[in-house]
């Protein structure tokens, strides 16, 4: 299998006044295509920062980030945006749907950046909603849907452009147990049946159980989990 994600001595620091805050330190990581990796760690350990670097919405202060065969380090803002639209699907804790758009229009958003016709965009968006079992709510606005349903719409939006990698930042963090299980089951299906590589940040060990591998971060450093089978390698 080829590496979907390759990180080589990746560092990330922020400047707060005169103080330099080291968030990630010398991260080496390879995640293979088709893997489902849970990223765990205490608050402030750098999980989301690492996810942002892999998703191409932030740049490291050192090291190399390579995702889906593209070296992201040094890419311009517009090149990164174009790359994200083709390769990455994002799922957020708070769904981040546009409240003024119906479910199907929210799902259609990433397709506005493609050359697909309006009809084809609509058809693909409806297909994505069918995959998450929400086709019957296509015309509902986010405010008319439950949290679990909104998250499923968000997953459909992440899927619709057929990205190779899904990055999920606490996708069940705002859901009740039942809805969380539904979402995790759905992510499992996408990984197993649709071959999507998934990286999921979570605090919840039960959520992490749905992943094939779990990585732990603490104080900006990646810890090797001896109990995990080989796959993701830190």
């Amino acid at each position: 299998m080829t590496a979907m994600v390759h990180l080589d001595k990746v560092c990330k620091s922020y400047r707060r006044g005169k103080e330099v805050l080291q968030v990630l330190e010398d991260i080496d990581l390879d995640i293979e295509e088709g893997d489902f990796v849970a990223l765990m760690g205490p608050s402030g350990s750098g999980k989301s920062t690492l996810l942002n670097l892999i998703g191409g919405i932030d740049q490291p202060t050192g090291g190399v980030v390579e995702v889906a065969g593209q070296r992201l380090t040094g890419l311009s803002s517009s090149a990164l945006a174009a790359w994200r639209s083709r390769h990455i699907g994002f799922v957020f804790q708070f769904y981040n749907l546009l409240p003024v758009l119906s479910a199907v229009r929210n799902v259609e958003l990433p397709l506005l950046l493609t050359r697909l016709s309006r009809r084809q965009r609509r058809r693909n968006a409806l297909t994505a909603l069918e995959i998450v079992d929400l086709a019957d709510r296509a015309t509902h606005k986010p405010g008319e849907l439950s949290g679990g349903q909104q998250q499923r719409v968000a997953i459909a939006r992440a899927l619709v452009a057929d990205p190779s990698l899904l990055v999920c930042d606490e996708p069940t963090g705002d859901l009740d147990r039942e809805s969380a299980d539904e979402i995790l089951g759905l992510l499992g299906i996408l990984n197993r049946d649709h071959g999507k590589t998934i990286i999921m940040v979570t605090h919840d060990p039960r959520a992490a159980d749905h992943a094939r591998h779990t990585l732990h971060l603490d104080k900006g450093k990646l810890l090797v989990d001896a109990a995990e089978p080989a796959g993701a390698s830190a």
């Binding site: 932030d58 639209s85 003024v100 758009l101 990433p110």
Partner: protein
């Protein structure tokens, strides 16, 4: 969904706020349409003015009259084909608000000078032969319900009668019309001889002369010769084309264009501030959403253009509604206002100018929020959630 659909949906996320903003833009453009009509009504008359006619008026002020005796001297100037005269009478019909221009004139000479005004020959004869006779534009007669044979009372505000009375009575002997396809005339005409005899003062004087030149190409030279003839007299003159004269007349009332432009400038500046503030507030509320769009792959430029397009769309829609309402208001107000301004219509120039202004205002209002949206970093914006 299209890009336009996305912009449209975002624009109407707060229906009340957008509705009120739209209303303020609408009112501004309604005002724009109506005030532009007024500005154009002053310049509109200038464009239809005859090129072979000159107007000789007092050199220093329209209030100073000119002696009627100038007429023969002007007629004798080389290059002059015909001369006639008029006075500004003022006055009103029944109520102050019923205002329209009224000139005492020489009937035959006046209609000979203005052949584009059409009057039945027998009515012109009646006008010439009736001392208290008057003719009015057909549209004015229709507006006030006058018919030939009616006696029309006019209350004078400048020229009382010799007996001290301010009530002048005229016998309506005919109506006249303007050239087809052009604006209707607005002036109430009556006999100069009657005015000259009955007015308490001003006998033997006129307000201005209208001069037809033999050769329009030599109009400037003829004008100079006329003014030169009276240069050292007690009543020096200034001769200009009809267009220039009307412009001078309007400027003595005030610089209409400047006043109107000043009002419009103040209105649009206020709209700019109010709408700019509303747009900025709307942007602050949507920072996480804009960050999500960027996360999905929308470029910095793409997101800033979305924000800019919302502002432009708001102004274009508000402008279109305002101009549309302005067109309806113009139709409704024209019968009343055309008696004062001559022409009162919404021109295509005003419509085009309105849309251009709407686009520019939209760009001005949207520029700062669009720049802020462009500079937004995804990580910082999502952290604010």
């Amino acid at each position: 969904m299209s890009w336009f659909g996305l912009v449209w949906s975002n624009l109407f996320r707060h229906r009340v706020r957008t509705g009120l903003t739209l209303l303020s833009v609408l009112v501004a453009f309604l005002l724009f349409a109506l005030l532009r009509n007024v500005i154009e009504s002053f310049s509109g008359g200038l464009e239809v003015a005859g090129v072979d006619r000159l107007v000789t008026s007092p050199k220093y002020s329209i209030i100073d009259p000119l002696p009627l005796a100038h007429l023969n001297q002007i007629a004798a100037v080389d290059g002059v084909a015909a001369v006639t005269h008029a006075n500004w009478f003022g006055g009103y019909y029944q109520e102050n608000s019923n205002f329209f221009p009224k000139y005492p004139v020489e009937p035959r000479e006046w209609f000979s000078m203005y052949p584009e005004y059409r009057i039945a020959p027998e009515q012109l004869e009646a006008f010439a032969n009736t001392r208290t006779g008057a003719v009015v534009p057909a549209s004015l007669a229709e507006e006030y319900g006058w018919s030939v044979g009616d006696r029309i009372p006019i209350t004078a505000d400048i020229y009382p009668r010799r007996d001290g009375s301010r009530l002048w009575e005229f016998d309506l002997v005919g109506t006249y019309t303007g050239p087809p396809g052009e604006s209707e005339p607005v002036t109430f005409l009556f006999q100069y001889d009657y005015f000259d005899e009955a007015a308490q003062f001003g006998s033997g004087t006129v307000g201005w002369f209208v001069v037809r030149v033999v050769d329009p190409d030599a109009a400037a030279e003829v004008a100079s010769r006329i003014d030169a003839a009276f240069e050292n007299s007690l009543n020096p003159t200034r001769t200009s084309t009809e267009a220039e004269y009307q412009r001078q007349f309007a400027s003595q009332i005030g610089d209409i264009g400047l006043m109107m432009s000043g009002i419009l400038g103040a209105v649009f500046f206020t709209i700019l501030l109010l709408t700019g503030n509303t747009m900025a507030q709307g942007l602050r509320e949507r920072i996480p959403e804009l960050a999500v769009l960027k996360t999905l792959g929308f470029s910095d430029t793409g997101v800033s253009l979305l924000v800019l397009a919302e502002a432009v769309l708001l102004f274009v829609v508000g402008g279109a509604l305002g101009l549309g309402l302005g067109a309806l208001a113009t139709v409704a107000l024209a019968p009343t206002l055309e008696t004062v301004t001559g022409v009162f219509q919404l021109s295509w120039t005003t419509v085009a100018l309105g849309f251009a202004l709407a686009g520019l205002l939209g760009l001005a209002v949207g520029a700062v929020p669009a720049l802020a949206a462009r500079r937004l970093t995804i990580v910082d914006a999502l952290r604010e959630q």
